[in-house]
Amino acid sequence: MPDYPVMAVVGHPNKGKSSVVAALTQNDQVQISPLSGTTRVAQHFTLKLDNRTVFELVDTPGFQRAGKCLAWLNAQELAADQRPARVAEFVEAFCGSGQFVDEVELLTPIIRGAGIIYVVDGSLPYSPEYETEMEILRWTGRPRLALINPIGGDTYVAQWQQALNQYFSLVRLFDPLHASFDQHLQLLRTFGELDAHQGQGFAQAIEQLERYRQLKLQQAARILVENLYRLLTYQQSSNRLEQAAQAQLPRLLSDEITRFNQHLNRMEREGQQQLEALFLYRRLESDIGQLEVHQSELMDESQWTLWGLEKNQLVLVSAGAGAAIGLLADVGLGGASLLTGAISGGVLGGLSGWFGLDWLKQQLPPWLQFSAEKHLLGPVKDPNFAFVILGRALSHARAMLSRSHADRERLTIREDGLNRMQSLELKTQVRLLKQCRQLVKQGPQGQAAERLRDWLYLQLVG
């Protein structure tokens, strides 16, 4: 018997056993089908910490011939203490025989020491036929927990609870499609309660999972801030706009703005994919709308650079050079000029830089590769753009975090989530806007980024 807890997820066919496993192991690659009987063989899912197994779940096929199985078990009059051995005898007798294939698969991990998680559908009525399955499980003598899975509603949950209480020491309601991370942990705690010997193993697993989750949320906040920075500072340069004839400008500009929007959306999606990769959603498709900015919201200017320096910087350099030459003259006069040379040199250098650069620009030969005339689009100047980005990013992150790995539908982002930023307190809105402005200036390593990360982390945790 392994030294870590093993739980077998068993039940009638098509009651969501695989969904429970997918949700608890946070694995969206578990095969889930609306059709019954797709789980043919028991499949083991282990949760490992640095290659050390913390616990194991076994997804099993549903009972197919429970009545006949119980009849076989009952064929001999046995005292209660001999029943587990009788179940083992059943498995041994039919293993590889081609009969009771599903029962053998689902009972094998149990006779090897696995605890039992019995899954039922709370949206369908209880039937005494289930008692056959529950009776077989009782024969195994293993610790048992019943999970009521409200796949399509909770109409019959109370009915099920009354019936299950008679066979199981613990009965819990668990919706694998909508359970939060805390509910997952709560369920793992319940597994620990089920078997006192294995409680320590589950407690350790819960502690590790909680810490792991916390680290991932911090990482998510970092990704969100970095992506926000990239989007807020994105600038697109184009040579063809600068060179185009006046008549072609409107069409070219429209093309450039479309390209700008496409790039913004690509960057945003890349950030979302980074989060999805972090939280192990491999098949996620979201229905969030496209980002779109218009010309009026964009910074739009022409820029000439020489060796990468803009005009202002070149003027500064020119003034500095003038001042240095003037200072040499001052030194030449033994300081008697009282820095007049440096001051006048600086002013002269600055003025000639300011007025002369435009002239110089015309004189430079076209092959001079370090000189470039560019048309710059962006960054987006509307301060609300930061709010839009934050709102969209948070909505996507929240929708993703509250989604179970058992859910195979498209990720739905609620519209009101996108407007959530507008519903924040005015004081908070002002503070966030200020921090976004500072983020653009200081970069992702600045203090504003730190504060934004803290705020986002709290939003994700909440």
Partner: protein
């Protein structure tokens, strides 16, 4: 690992990690953690460096030669400047005004300018130029502030070494040669003005070292003219300026540089920590290297493919000779159904079977009845099981026309119902062909038609 290597490492790490931005975290964690566990105990920086080396990162100390070469060059330039100032003596005197301008005021002005660019958020022309010269895409924009801080710290360090070079040259010349300082100007400045200037400059140390504050007498006695004879009554006076000049070099050239170098290094070290902790990609890598891998391992098994089979369905009619009710049904569901199907006026036989009924019992009960169309009622909200398949096999041997009706649960929404019924479609392939699938709810007129 020195701070320059750390900066370089962070930039290279970021550049490498950009390509893994959207790769599945679990895959990366598995790869990085298993690598980290195989490494000997070492510092976090060594670990990061070792990790990068797997992908062809530059070895530790790759920036050392460049930085140390620059440091030596700065030291030599500082030494050369000072040596030039001290050796070039056209009139056997070193003009204090020249000396102060070039060796004290110019470095001090340069320091102030650097301080302005360091602290004020204005474009830093040298950094912009440097970035411009980097190959496109070679520098991660998210680390712009790290680059700025590195360039500032490097600039401060080179300037400090330049100042130290100047100081060493000054001290060596002071010790080894006979330096004669004086002052001279074409303009009639007068000793008073020079005294005022030197007193102001010497203000920081006038109480600490009064001997390093030039007196008016010294200023007047060391005033010389190009046209006047060079003979001096007290030649030792010309050497007394050295205390004042040494303090000027220390206070206005070396100390500010020392302070800003220490500050810049401190800020750079803090920036390294910030990047390690806050950069989305680098902190992610550190997290993967240092935290235990929680991994969900899935055993590879060959599960049954979901068959999306479609069987023809028939509507419910009244022409059934026998009706078999499979399973245990709640009375409130089966009662009205039985009433409708075998109520008054119907001669159909109603048989109830469940999983407890043996094959012999089934065969016996059907052997006595004629071969008439048989309707098998099942709970449509439950999936078909192997036991039902076994019963169908038995019935298939007994009857030539069979109908299987998964009865829908009243009150269940259509979409859910149709999903549940879907499971019955592939089931029809597992049972004899004689079975026909009946679909739909109980029609009102079925009995009385």
């Amino acid at each position: 690992m020195d701070i320059w290597d750390k900066s370089l490492l962070l930039i290279q790490l970021r550049r490498h990690l950009e390509s893994e931005r959207t790769v599945d975290w679990q895959t990366l964690h598995k790869r990085d953690r298993s690598w980290a566990l195989a490494q000997p105990e070492q510092s976090a920086w060594r670990l990061l460096h070792g990790w990068l080396q797997q992908w062809g990162g530059s070895p530790v100390g790759s920036s050392t030669l460049l930085v140390y070469g620059g440091c030596v060059a700065a030291l030599v330039f500082g030494f050369a400047l000072m040596a030039g100032l001290l050796v070039f003596q056209p009139f056997q005197r070193i003009n204090l005004l020249w000396f102060l301008s070039l060796a004290v005021l110019l470095p001090f002005a340069w320091w102030l300018l650097a301080l302005f660019f360091t602290t004020a958020q204005v474009p830093f022309p040298l950094r912009t130029l440097y970035e411009h010269r980097l190959p496109s895409g070679s520098f991660p924009a998210a680390l712009r502030s790290l680059l700025k801080q590195t360039v500032i710290a490097l600039g401060q360090q080179l300037s400090l070494l330049f100042s130290i070079g100047m100081l060493i040259a000054f001290l060596l010349y002071l010790l080894m040669t006979d330096l004669a300082f004086g002052w001279s100007s074409t303009l009639d400045l007068g000793g008073g003005v020079i005294h005022q200037v030197t007193s102001t400059l010497a203000w920081p140390w006038r109480t600490l070292w009064p001997a390093a504050v030039p007196s008016l007498e010294l200023i007047e006695q060391t005033h010389y003219f190009r046209a006047a004879p060079l003979a001096a009554e007290q030649p030792a006076l010309f050497g007394q300026w050295w205390r004042f000049l040494l303090m000027c070099l220390l206070v206005y050239v070396l100390l500010p540089r020392l302070f800003t170098t220490a500050l810049a290094r401190f800020r750079l070290i803090r920036m390294h920590d910030r990047v390690c902790d806050n950069d989305a990609l680098i902190s992610g890598l550190r997290q993967r290297l240092t935290t235990g891998l929680i991994d969900q391992e899935m055993e590879a098994v060959d599960q049954r493919e979901a068959v999306d089979a479609v069987s023809e369905t028939e509507s419910l009619t009244r022409r059934y000779g026998q009706i078999v009710c499979w399973g245990l049904w709640p009375d409130e569901l089966i009662g009205p159904l039985r009433e409708q199907l075998v109520g008054e006026g119907s001669d159909a036989v109603w048989i109830e079977l469940d999983s407890g009924t043996s094959a012999d019992e089934v065969q016996t009960s059907f052997a006595e009845l004629p071969d008439e169309p048989l309707l098998l009622l099942c709970k449509g909200w439950e999936p078909p099981t192997g036991e039902l398949a076994d019963l169908c096999q038995l019935l298939g041997q007994q009857r030539s026309r069979l109908f299987l009706w998964p009865v829908p649960l009243s009150g269940m929404d259509e979409a859910r119902q149709s999903r549940l019924i879907q499971s019955w479609q592939p089931f029809m392939r597992q049972i004899p062909d004689r079975f026909h699938l009946v679909s739909g709810r109980v029609p009102d007129g079925v009995v009385h038609a």
